[in-house]
Amino acid sequence: MTTPKSNDDRIALLQGTLDLLILKTLMMGSCHGQGIARIIQRQSEEVFFVDHGSLYLALQRLEDKKWISAKWGVSENNRKARYYTLTAKGRAQLLEKTSEWEKLTRAVGLILGGAGTGGEEA
């Protein structure tokens, strides 16, 4: 795995988060892998570093689960590219995962917000 030296403040993605981000990205329409990576990176204001290898493996995983479908096509600048599209199953998953994620972040936020009271005991 690579860790680009110039980007120390980038955060490696949590396991499972990448799937969610891919699905979210594909909500806006079909896209190829490189596009997805760019979008995630840009939309997270360059905070997330997307490991490209992991991205493609994640895409394959989602495809295997039939949450997304793939088809070879041609990009705007006439390059061959593999385009991914969200399936109905993927859409449902996205809603579910999003609500899960919101629950999780609220809970983590609550704990972190009140960390001073009981954090030391454990």
Binding site: M1, T2, Q34, D51, Y56, Q60, K80
Partner: protein, 900 residues
């Protein structure tokens, strides 16, 4: 996944596309061409790594690992070829032997008849009195008589409502002539519905139909068995051709399907003939209208929806009604006879998928015994290979230790050991399966002896046998590969091993001791078995039948099978006797209709003058051979009193009889009292004969059976003619005698067939063939077990002694003598052996007690055999311990101490 898996190439292409798109984008952001390409590649990271991960994704990772383990295992085996060779050979011998024996067992006991829906077949047998003539090839037991009369068969077949069909068959030997060449072959008399009901199809022409069962003697047609057609007629066109059976022309109408032999397992008829031709095929008997002749076996096919139980209830009622109607036809109509004939009568219906089979009864026990020994041998091989693997694995302790420290999990180590074990198992199985058909072939030949008949057993392995071999291999491999695995299931391997080698304790040592004890136990059991059976054969061979068996040549001659009319038969037989007596080198010639030591038995009850039956209704059967006047002298049966038969006793002179000592003991006070008394068959005054002599007892049916009361009469004075077995006492070597016999008989009439020509010694060997087969195999297994025990014990003891080199060094440094150290080690092994022997001997006795019926002239607990076995295995164990102990003790103590 339903869809085809995405290829690695497609994935690589996508990554290349990504790099291209990224570079394009970087370029559009103002980067130079080369820089953009470089940058895209750097951003992506390890392309090969991702591709590798894609390749492994979803793929069955264990398969890759398996391939790696197999490769590693094969390399390991090749590095150590001696070990692999011994292990594979051990397994091959055990698996090959077991597979061969199992194949016989499968054919005899497990396989169903090759007919349609065999599970719907049923067999009929009956209880109750059977007065009259009973003709059996065996397989019946009291209360379960499998033979029925033809009239009873027809009534049962035509009047029942529960069977779709009921077939009848009887075995018979016939004289068959093709192209003027005669031979005696086995045939089967069958009912017209036989093939249809069994569901056997023709290979050529047609098979019998119910209308082929016509009036007696009116339909001379024959069906050939496929094997006979193939081996004797090379599949030549036979439809419509004429086959002479006992001189009568039969028309061949068809050939039965390949694979089918008979509804009775073990019969291998070459020719099928309608039952109604019985009188032509067996001219001396007339069974078809006789209610009192029991000679055919019945098998039925259940009607749809009828269970065997329902069929039995229904058929039994019919049977009892038929018996009641038959009773008035009996000669003896006393109240007692009525009770036996009607009240005690019962028809049994049993499952018939495997068919009725006297032969099965004969081979079941020997096969089971031999299979038991083969299983012991497999057990022995498992322990053997396990201990070899254990020793080898111990040597590889450092390797495993390194692999653990490099991060291998216990599971991976276990998998590696299992794969290596499986490899050995597969190697052994492959070699074993290569050996099995050959071994089977030899075994079948051996069992067939000098019989020219088609062997009942086939030496090809079917799927069932292969499945058995596969299961045995898997089971065995699993067992012996787990042995070292148990020892190495420990990440702190080196520490544990070091500790064990110092203290001489721990699970590994216990396991090794168990291996040694088991090997000694298994091999001792097999050696004892071998000893008991070898002694049995020796005893059987040494049995004195009461007459000299050397230079006695024998053959069968049945003039009626060459087409002679019955009335002409005795004259031909007499001519043959005279011609043979005139041959040079022939000392004496005799003949009998009741072959000696051949399992034959012609017996019945007799009325004896001057004798009042002690119990009111005594039932005492005596052996009733019809012999030639020179028979007793030829065999050399000593005369006790009176005279032998002589040439002056002719067909027209007074009928004479000679009885043996057992006969005299039952009927008279002393031999002298028997002379001049009359003996006859009850209600057959024509058989009345005067006793003119008394001879010594001799064994008759077989060497195993004691002599029985016997009454010899002359075949020339007998009620009817019969085929005879001839005996010649010669000065010549048997081969030369056989040549002159053939030409002498051929000179009388070339159509006469000299059948089963051989010597009495061969006959005796044939009569104990089942014992000889068990004995031979037991001996082979015993020798194999001893060798395996030697190899296994030596391997394990060499290793464990080498491990104690340090201890030995310390002892020697402290002043122990070399000899006493060797003694110490050998003694330890012998104590272990003693323990194993103490456990094995009672178990072996228990097992051999179950074999009692197969032993002869030796107790199942014969001290000699047990002591011999113990001494032999003790020697092997002692030697296996002595050699490594000597080596260890001859090491310089300083070197020994440095060894660690």
């Amino acid at each position: 996944m339903v869809r085809r898996k995405r290829s690695d190439e497609d994935f690589a292409e996508e990554i290349q596309a990504h790099l291209q798109l990224e570079a394009d984008e970087l370029k559009s952001e103002g980067m130079g061409e080369d820089e953009a390409r470089r940058r895209a590649r750097v951003e992506f990271g390890n392309v090969r790594g991702v591709e590798e991960r894609f390749h492994l994704r979803g793929r069955v990772a264990w398969f890759d690992n398996l391939v790696r383990d197999v490769r590693y295992g094969v390399r390991g085996a090749l590095r150590n070829p001696g070990f692999a060779f011994v292990a594979v050979l051990t397994l091959a011998l055990a698996i090959g032997a077991t597979t061969a024996i199992f194949s016989l067992l499968d054919q005899a006991l497990l396989r169903a008849l090759p007919v349609r829906d065999p599970e719907r077949l049923v067999l009929l047998n009956s209880a109750g009195g059977h007065p009259g003539h009973w003709h059996s090839e065996g397989g019946s037991r009291p209360g379960h008589m499998y033979e029925f009369s033809y009239p009873m068969y027809r009534d049962l077949r035509d009047k029942n409502t529960v069977l779709r069909g009921l077939v009848a068959s009887a075995p018979v030997e016939i004289g068959a002539t093709w192209n003027n060449r005669g031979e005696v072959i086995p045939a089967e008399l069958v009912s017209g519905n036989y093939f249809q009901t069994l569901g056997v199809r023709p290979a050529v022409g047609r098979l019998f139909v119910p209308s082929d069962e016509t009036a007696p003697g009116a339909n001379p047609v024959a069906v050939l068995s496929f094997d006979y057609w193939k081996t004797h007629l090379s599949e030549a066109p036979v439809l419509g051709r004429t086959l002479l059976i006992n001189g009568t022309s039969f028309t061949v109408v068809g050939v039965a399907a390949p694979g089918f032999h008979s509804a009775v397992w073990g019969r291998m008829p070459a020719v099928f003939v309608p039952l109604t031709m019985q009188g032509v095929v067996e001219p001396e008997w007339s069974y078809l209208k006789d209610h009192r002749a029991y000679w055919i076996d019945l098998a039925g096919r259940l009607e749809d929806g009828v269970s065997a139980k329902q069929a039995e209830a229904s058929l039994n009622a019919l049977y009892l009604a038929l018996r009641r109607a038959e009773f008035p036809l009996q000669t003896d109509q006393s109240e007692k006879e009525r009770k036996g004939f009607i009240d005690n009568a019962r028809l049994h219906v049993e499952a018939g998928a495997h068919g009725f089979s006297p032969l099965r009864g004969d081979v079941e026990k020997p096969l089971t015994i031999v299979m038991g020994m083969a299983v012991l041998l497999v057990g022995m091989a498992i322990v053997n290979v396990a201990s070899l693997l254990l020793v080898r694995a111990a040597v590889r302790a450092r390797e495993f230790s390194v692999r653990y420290s490099l991060g291998a999990t216990s599971g991976q180590i276990l998998r590696q050991l299992l794969v290596e074990g499986m490899l050995l198992g597969l190697g052994g199985a492959a070699l074993g399966l290569l050996l099995a058909p050959r071994a089977l072939h030899l075994l079948i030949q051996w069992m067939a002896g000098r019989s020219a008949d088609e062997p009942v057993f086939s030496s090809s392995l079917d799927w069932r046998v292969l499945a058995f071999a596969a299961a045995a291999t898997m089971g065995a491999s699993l067992l012996f590969s787990l042995a070292p695995a148990v020892q190495f299931w420990n990440p702190r391997l080196m520490e544990v091993l070091r500790q064990q080698s110092v203290t001489g304790a721990g699970s590994a040592v216990r396991f090794r001791r168990a291996c040694v004890a088991l090997q000694i136990g298994f091999s001792l059991a097999l050696i004892i078995g071998a000893g008991l059976f070898v002694r049995t054969i020796e005893n059987l061979r040494r049995v004195d039948p009461g007459f000299a068996t050397d230079r006695l040549v024998q053959f069968d001659l049945s003039p009626e099978m060459a087409g002679y009319a019955l009335a002409a038969v005795p004259a031909v037989e007499q001519r043959a006797l005279d011609a043979l007596a005139a041959l040079p080198g022939v000392k004496a010639v005799g003949a009998t209709n009741d072959a000696d030591l051949a399992g034959d038995d012609h017996s019945g009850d007799v009325k004896v003058s001057g004798y009042a039956a002690k119990p009111e209704d005594e039932e005492f059967d005596v052996e009733l051979p019809w012999v030639s006047d020179g028979y007793l002298q030829t065999l050399g049966i000593p005369l006790v009193t009176g005279r032998y038969f002589s040439a002056s006793d002719t067909a027209s002179s007074t009928k004479v009889a000679i009885v043996n000592e057992s006969f005299v003991r039952h009927y008279f006070a002393n031999p002298g009292a028997a002379l001049g008394q009359h003996v006859s068959r009850p209600a057959r005054p024509a058989t009345d004969a005067v006793i003119v002599g008394v001879v010594r007892d001799v064994k008759h049916t077989s060497v195993r059976d004691p002599a029985t009361a016997t009454c010899y009469t002359l075949f020339t004075q007998a009620e009817k003619p019969n085929g005879l077995r001839f005996y010649l006492r010669t000065w010549q070597a048997p081969d030369a005698a056989m040549q002159s016999i053939r030409s002498a008989v051929g000179a009388i009439d070339p159509k006469l067939v000299v059948a089963d020509l051989g010597t009495m010694a061969e006959q005796i060997d044939d009569s104990i063939s089942s014992e000889r087969t068990i004995g031979l195999l037991a001996m082979a297994f015993g020798v194999l077990a001893t060798v395996l025990a030697g190899i296994g014990l030596y391997g394990i003891l060499a290793y464990s002694t080498a491990q104690r080199t340090r201890e030995i060094g310390v002892r020697m440094a402290l002043g122990a003598q070399r000899g006493s150290l060797v003694g110490l080690i050998v003694r330890e092994v012998l104590i272990l052996a003693g323990g194993s022997i103490v456990v094995t001997v009672p178990l072996a006795m228990l097992a051999s007690r179950a074999l009692r019926s197969e032993l002869f002239g030796i107790s199942f607990a014969d001290p000699g055999v047990y002591a011999g076995g113990i001494v032999l295995i003790g020697l092997v164990a002692g030697l296996a311990a002595y050699i490594p102990a000597r080596r260890a003790a001859s090491v310089n103590p300083v070197d020994a101490l440095r060894a660690e």
